[in-house]
Amino acid sequence: MPRILDPQDKYYIDNPGRVKAIQAQMHKRGIDVYLGSRIRTMSFVMDTFCPWRSYIVIPPEGQPTYFTFVVDALRVGDETWIDGDHVRAYGPMGGMDQVSAITDFIKDELGIKKGRIGYEDGISAYTAEGNLSHWEYTHFKDALPGFEWVNSHDIIDALSLIKDKGTIERFRTASLIVDEGHKAARAALESGGYRGMTETVIAGIAALAMRKAGSVSEWNFAGLNEISSGFRTGLGACTPPTTKEIKAGEPLMLDFHAMFKLALGDHSHNYLIGPATKRQRWHADNFVAIIQKVIDNYHAGTTPGTLAAMMMDFAESRGCGDFIQPACEHGIGLFGDEWRIGAIVNPDLPYWTDQDHVYSENEMVVCAMQYAAPEENIGFRYENDIVITKDGCEVLSKYPLGIEEIS
């Protein structure tokens, strides 16, 4: 049975309204049918976890029709708001391969034999983006002669930029769930608990606590909960946990991820496992001050470029400019949407964050900063979902900012 949407639910999203907004944009651009393929598009429209290669066909009016690998169609049909007739499957059968199932549907069931078809293409540093592949594009095109293909992903990108109330509530909850992971990790590490503990084990302790609190996934495809300790903290901003043991005298970075109703909780917290040196403390104090400075400067009307420049100037003034990476955020939305900031394709550097994008109220980003001194075997990471407000920002993880020494 599909899910019944309840406008009284604090996590309610007006999915039918989203479809109508997409259709209004299609009408404006003369697009007769939209073929979505990105994970972010599935999340935005279906409001359901769609991990298998999926496609969504949006007609000029009425409900969209979703296609996924046959093994998962019934589960999606049970969880989405769209009725069962509009949740379809493809599979290894004559007439039911991806291309036949979808193009037959467009021609025979929607009755659209020619016109303009919107599709999703581009490039991303995010592996799982889901743009239409060359093979798919070529074969869909061959099966739909008489159609003009128009890259239209920016319709969804623009509509998903400003978050509605229900989406923000979901992110608030996801972030508080991440805090439960951090509390559990802190309790496990203190009083010598870290001894003999590996990065993978602390990742699992946090995962269990977050699952107990309602998370359905550690969602991040770069190693789920990302952990680094010792020299690994200086190795950049992607550290899948290893079996390295956490040791005294080393830094420790815990980057936990929780998913709640497709909203992605993401918070990194750092420790110094005692005894810490004065130099380690200096690095830690620099990083905390930089984080606070950046958070204090978010507000509607500012831009990623402005914030990055301010951050670098501040780091330089503290004598640690060589250690801070020159960016302080990445985009965030429902599952599958965690890449560039903004909705337009920046012509100077296509598909990267537009440094001149002007933030608006209720836009969300992950405030993300990386401090690395690999020669000194130390580094830190900060990530936290934030909502841009008129005069500032709302930081969603409430775990106290700081880098404490524990032993």
Partner: protein, 133 residues
């Protein structure tokens, strides 16, 4: 006089309806309401034939055969006459014919898979009809 009935001819059609109604109870048919049209390409004589079967609440209510456009159905299965004939003679499994692309399905695959066992039961009954291909 031979007891064999011409495949998809009027006598075969009537026998199919009689056997499906008598041998398949609504319980055996999972009380489904659905319909399907098999479309036979490359038939002897160069015509295109169809076999249409409809069920209501698990009871087979209609079996129709003929040429040209079949009645509107929830599922359409398209293939060569010889492929369908081989399935009816139990020389080829329907699932295998679909999985190898010898038959093409049109309709909601997620729903069709729920009906796979029901479809097998129908085919087994039809395969018992003494048939002249």
């Amino acid at each position: 006089m031979s007891d064999l009935k011409e495949y998809l001819g009027p006598l075969w059609r009537d026998e199919a309806l009689r056997r499906l109604q008598s041998e398949l109870t609504p319980e055996k048919m999972n009380k489904v309401t659905t319909s399907m049209s098999n479309i036979y390409k490359n038939c002897p004589g160069g015509v295109e034939l169809f076999l249409f079967i409809a069920c209501e609440d698990g009871k087979v209510t209609r079996v129709e055969t003929g040429t040209g456009e079949p009645p509107q159905a929830e599922f359409r299965i398209i293939g060569n006459y010889e492929t369908f004939a081989r399935i009816s003679r139990a020389e080829l499994g329907a699932q295998k014919a679909l999985m190898t692309g010898k038959l093409k399905l049109k309709g909601n695959l997620a729903k069709a898979l729920k009906l796979a066992a029901v479809s097998d039961r129908l085919n087994k009954v039809l395969a018992q009809i003494p048939t002249q291909y």
